[in-house]
């Protein structure tokens, strides 16, 4: 059965438009979420990483805890916010791609933020002192911090992508796994397996694995570069 499934999976990947529409939807939803998480998490992380202020320690602890948020809990909270009787129910976003983006954003932000904070915190103080001494404004100093920590910022984005694209609980809950609408790779795999259709599940699984493998490989290489420089 396994051999048949694999060859069928390969055939689907080569020919089936439905499978590819699921893959692209997955990439679109998760990509949007991670992009937005980067736009929020990186600037905020740079600010927190560069400065020493009262309450910084507890704040960093909260962020680090957020890195391990259980997706189903995030899904539940976003569901309650967006459900018709919830505070944001009037937006009518439940069971939409936007809802999935929101849920994945909530999952990705702490990860991007946490890695950015630790990356920027580890930039040598001398770098910032030197930049300021040569006349760098606050923003120009922050750019030095970003430049010094750039590899870890990329790691933050890659890690965020790796987390949300493989996540199933939150998107299932707020997206509803509607075929052709909000079905993404992880939710599609669950459904196909439940129906006993292993071939399409395997085809999607191969893509997910490939993405995870590529992301991890990229992260490993990036981290190696941080060590080298």
């Amino acid at each position: 059965m396994l051999r048949e499934s694999v060859s069928e999976a390969v055939r689907l990947l080569l020919t089936d438009a439905e499978v590819w529409s699921i893959i692209l939807r997955s990439l679109l939803v998760s990509g949007t979420a991670v992009l937005m998480a980067g736009l929020v998490g990186i600037p905020l992380g740079v600010v927190i990483g560069m400065h020493r202020f009262r309450g910084r320690g507890p704040l960093v602890s909260v962020i680090n805890t957020g890195m391990a948020l259980p997706p189903v809990v995030v899904g539940l909270v976003v569901f309650m916010l967006l459900s018709r009787s919830g505070p944001l129910g009037s937006l009518g976003l439940l069971y939409s791609k936007q809802a999935m983006v929101v849920a994945q954003l909530v999952l990705a932000v702490p990860l991007v933020l946490g890695i950015t904070v630790s990356g920027v915190s580890s930039v040598p103080r001398e770098a910032l002192t030197q930049a300021r001494s040569l006349g760098a404004s606050w923003l120009q100093t922050a750019l030095v911090a970003v430049s010094e920590a750039r590899v870890l910022l990329l790691v933050a984005i890659v890690a965020g992508m790796g987390r949300v694209i493989a996540e199933v609980g939150a998107v299932m809950m707020v997206g509803g796994n509607i075929t052709g609408e909000t079905q993404v790779m992880t939710t599609a795999i669950m459904e196909e397996v439940r129906k006993g259709n292993f071939a399409p599940a395997l085809a999607l699984g191969i893509i997910l694995l490939t993405i995870a493998f590529a992301a991890n490989g990229l992260m490993a290489r990036l981290e190696q570069r941080t060590i080298d420089t």
Partner: protein
Amino acid sequence: MGVLIKASQIRHAYDGRSVLNIEDLEVMRGETLCLLGPNGAGKSTLVRILNLVEAPDSGSVLFEGKPVKPGCLSTRRRMAGVFQHPHIFRGSVRDNVAYGLKLRRLPRREVAALTDDALEQLALEGLGHRDARRLSRGEAQRVALARAVVVRPEVLFLDEPAGNLDAAARRRFLDDLRRIVRRLDTTVIHVTHSLDEALSTGDRIAIIKDGAIRQAGPARQVYNSPADIFTARFLGYENILPGTVVGEAAGGAVVELADGGRVYTRSRMRGDVNVCIRAEEVTLHPPGEAEQVAATANRFPGIIWTVEPSGSAHSLVLDCGFELVATATRPYVQELGLVPGAEVEVRFDEAAAQLVPARVPRGQAGAAACGEGETVRERA
């Protein structure tokens, strides 16, 4: 001239530990002020505060008589700093040198011209396109100096810029530095723990210890008249002899040493004192040598204890009733037959005997030993 920077009542602490307590420090326009002190004295923190890179816990910095807010960008852009461990930015040597100009958003052509000039000044033309992170320490420090002077700062901060270099690179760097400072005609605040460096570059010297300024003044004056026993040790006075002023002769105090012997001075100090004499001010003569013109009243028969060769000069320890360190050139040592046990006459001028109060000001006792260590290392 006139006061360019004035710092007053500067207090700063790290993790509750006080590192800086500056009552008053003035930097004159165009001068080179050396901040001299042992490691951990707070010199670097003071530089970061004056450079407006770090805000003090309390106190004020005045620039041209006007108080500046911590971090004030327009004032900060009239300054630049070179630090002991220069942080080289990613990119080429040229990128690093042009950095400060780009921060100021100067026109591209001007950036190029000024960068070329700075590279040439420091003999870095050939390295312009090299990866700046793959330079030797000496080269990196020259890049750090080039990128600081390229912005034509009105105040140049140098925080032990030669502290991390080997002897050859250090000499070259200090030569470059002197030449460039002369050409730039800028105010320089130079932190060092090397007395030689301070004397060769500084117009004025401020000696810092435990975050406070212990003595400040024109370089030669500080060198020749220590304020207390710590600065005396730090300034390289090998002989520090406790005693009491017992009278006056020819307008100067006469000191009865604790170990016996009377020293004539030009000082007007009274009470318990320490007599400070540099080893090189002590001269050795054959016993019974004919009296010279303008001879000093400070003449003691002595017996040589030890003769220690060190470089071109020998260091001798003598017993004159009290212990005294003297230096003599190698030929002189041979000519006079200065060997352990030999009898000599020891002389030093009244003006060479500086007095400092015997009482060590609060919190200074442990520090003196540390200062001595520094001095010994620098002179070695």
